[in-house]
């Protein structure tokens, strides 16, 4: 294999690995900017992966499947924020509860729909569209730019950031913090659902129990790593994806590196980058704090 192919394949591998995490990280970014820390992203991603497959299986159209996944995760995210904002439940605990809940729900439903000792049903997932990559990849990277513009060039974007940074100010100008946070959660949930659906429809064409396998947490880390900006988040996700892709390549190539070290690469790279480049990665000031109107 010549070098050109090698680099091309490596890049494709980076992007394939990064895309589902990027979707989820962008969803989390929107939520976190408004002041909600969604630890339940892992579970919601899993929900998206499952509903995406079910939706595609029943409707026969992959885009309808994605819409179902987005709706499901959006609703889950809305529910999450409803608990967090109305009942002021601790958001970390709530997130863990959501992860356990959706881990169980997707497993149980998948077994009752698809049965046990049978091959996963064939569904028609995403096909490669442009340069050997399926369309959602371009949507994910397009979203980075869109969210950047939305956050820093539009009024609703400013309102979301204000709700996360200084909710009292939002209340003073007569807006509802709770409403803004709920809407941000819905929007974020839609992206998380798409990320989950891409995992099952873009990468594998079937659902497997617990297939998100920690990606929700990696996305959560990527948001802080990216200093709570869309571009930074994308770079963080790409760095992690790059580490993974490098690891795959090193193991497949005839390297003498023991596999344990190869498996470490993405994490070691992330830690080094964190130590070198990240100063003051403080998030929105009101992140994770329930908002109470002052009297």
């Amino acid at each position: 294999m010549d070098n050109f192919n090698l680099i091309g394949n490596l890049l494709l591998s980076v992007i394939r690995t990064a895309t589902p995490i990027l979707f989820v990280a962008l969803g989390l970014l929107v939520m976190q900017s408004s002041g909600i820390i969604n630890m339940g992203a892992e579970g919601m991603m899993l929900l998206g992966a499952f509903v995406g497959v079910i939706g595609t299986y029943w409707t026969g159209n992959v885009w309808l499947g994605v819409l179902c996944a987005m709706a499901a995760s959006g609703l889950a995210s809305l529910l999450f924020s409803y608990f967090a904002l109305t009942f002021q439940v601790n958001q970390v605990v709530l997130g863990v509860a959501f992860n356990i809940l959706f881990g169980g729900v997707t497993t149980t439903l998948s077994r009752s729909v698809f049965g046990l000792n049978s091959a996963p049903p064939k569904i028609d997932g995403f096909h490669d569209a442009l340069f050997g990559l399926p369309l959602p990849v371009y949507i994910a990277f397009g979203l980075v730019l869109a969210i950047h513009l939305f956050f820093y060039r539009t009024k609703p974007g400013l309102k979301i950031r204000a709700a996360g940074e200084y909710p009292q100010a939002v209340e003073v100008v007569g807006l509802s913090v709770v409403k803004i946070r709920l809407l941000s959660s819905l929007l974020g949930g839609l992206f998380i659902g798409f990320g989950g659906a891409f995992l099952s429809l873009g990468q594998l064409d079937f659902f497997i129990e617990n297939m998100s396998n920690g990606r929700g947490y990696i996305a959560l880390a990527a948001v802080s790593f990216g200093k709570f900006t869309p571009i930074g988040t994308m770079l963080a996700v790409l760095l992690f994806g790059g580490g993974e892709a490098l690891q795959y390549r090193l193991q497949a190539g005839n390297s003498i590196i023991p596999y344990q070290f190869a498996l470490m690469i993405p994490y070691v790279m992330t830690i080094i980058a964190l130590a070198l480049f990240i100063r003051n990665a403080s998030g929105p000031a009101a992140l994770g704090k329930p908002y109470q109107k002052s009297h």
Partner: protein, 357 residues
């Protein structure tokens, strides 16, 4: 997990009390209750409660699984065995899936104290926990599949020969490959998976010494996309026959091969239905046979603390029919494959001697 365990506990307590009420119905089969009564008196050292449940004529089997029962492979085979034991031996069966390492002892202890007579840890990784718990419950039979250690008087292992398994897969891959490059993705570094991987590569080069093989350790038993990326990298490097052993994550390898139109071999169970156009055949490791045999011995009170090993000649390892590849393979290829099967069956090829293991 804890909640699930509590639920399990509650459910089995209910089950025990219910079966206690319907005792006469449970003794409908004369010979069965006779067996169990013998066993009950032999194990009368146990608490009153335990002997009571045994007098109820029940042989109770519990299984701890490292993964989920629908992975089309390792755990699915165990679940099949459990179903066979349930119907064939009239046993009452229970299982726990994806048991985390930290809970091994606790779950085993739970089953043992609920009056289960035969407890299976499905995988070598349960060995250490079983050694501890088996001491605490001398009347209960413990058995580790593919285990490496036994312990008097009640801890046995039952295995399908991983070396024969890998060697058979490797020779088939060797027969099939055109690029002279074969690949394998295993989930993690474990005695069984390493033995499988080593003997796979050995088998391929045994068929043709010019064949090179590459083994990748994915580091996951759950993440199918990760295994898929590993497989795609192997394919990019020119491998044209792959196999895998990584529980449900292995499905990612099959998916990668399907996407690129690369031949691959199923492992553990019959995986051809997952991708009939690219899975040439599956090397089935019929763990259910090994587990069933051990359960039968336990029921008859004959289980010894030793390693029971099964291989190709016992019918515990075999190839599934070529399916869609029936017409695509040349007669020469088929003859070569069946030749290896015959030689392994007759003992003409002794994998262990060849590999010095």
């Amino acid at each position: 997990m804890k909640n699930f365990f509590a639920f399990l506990l509650a459910a089995s307590i209910t089950a025990v009390s219910l079966s206690g009420c319907g005792g006469s119905a449970a003794q409908s089969s004369g010979s069965k209750s006779g067996d169990a009564a013998d066993q009950g008196s032999a194990a009368s050292a146990g608490s009153e409660q335990a002997s009571e449940s045994k007098a109820g004529g029940e042989f109770k089997v519990a299984m701890l699984l490292p993964g989920t029962i629908n992975d089309q492979g390792w755990n699915a085979e165990a679940y099949k065995a459990l179903q066979a034991i349930e119907s064939g031996l009239g046993a009452e069966a229970a299982y726990s899936e994806s048991v985390p390492q930290s809970d091994y002892e606790q779950v085993m202890r739970g089953y043992a104290s609920q009056g289960f007579n035969f407890i299976v840890g499905h995988g070598y990784q349960f060995s250490d926990a079983a050694k501890i718990v088996a001491k605490e419950f001398p009347d209960v039979d413990f058995c580790i599949t593919n285990g490496t250690e036994t312990q008097e008087p009640n801890l046995a292992t039952t295995s399908v020969d991983s070396y024969e398994f890998g060697f058979l897969s490797g020779t088939v891959a060797g027969v099939l490959t055109k690029s002279k490059k074969v690949g394998i993705v295993v989930g993690e570094s474990s005695p069984v998976m390493n033995a499988f991987s080593d003997s796979y590569l050995f088998g391929a080069s045994y068929h043709d010494s010019s064949i090179t093989g590459k083994s990748i350790t994915a580091g996951t038993l759950e993440d199918a996309s990760k295994c898929k990326e590993n497989a795609l990298n192997l394919i990019d490097d020119g491998a044209d026959v792959l196999t895998q052993m990584a529980n449900q994550a292995g499905l990612g390898v099959i998916n990668a091969c399907e996407e690129r139109g690369i031949m691959n071999l199923g492992s553990n169970g019959d995986q051809a239905p997952v991708a009939p156009d690219t899975v040439v055949t599956s090397v089935v490791q019929d763990m259910s046979k090994a587990i069933y045999a051990a359960a039968e011995k336990s029921k008859n009170g004959e289980l010894e603390a030793k390693s029971y090993n099964f291989g190709i000649k016992d019918g515990a390892l075999y190839l599934t029919p070529f399916g869609n590849f029936e017409d695509k393979l040349t007669q020469e290829q088929k003859d070569a494959i069946s030749g290896y099967l015959e030689k392994l069956k007759s003992g003409e090829i002794d994998v262990h001697a060849l590999m010095g293991k």
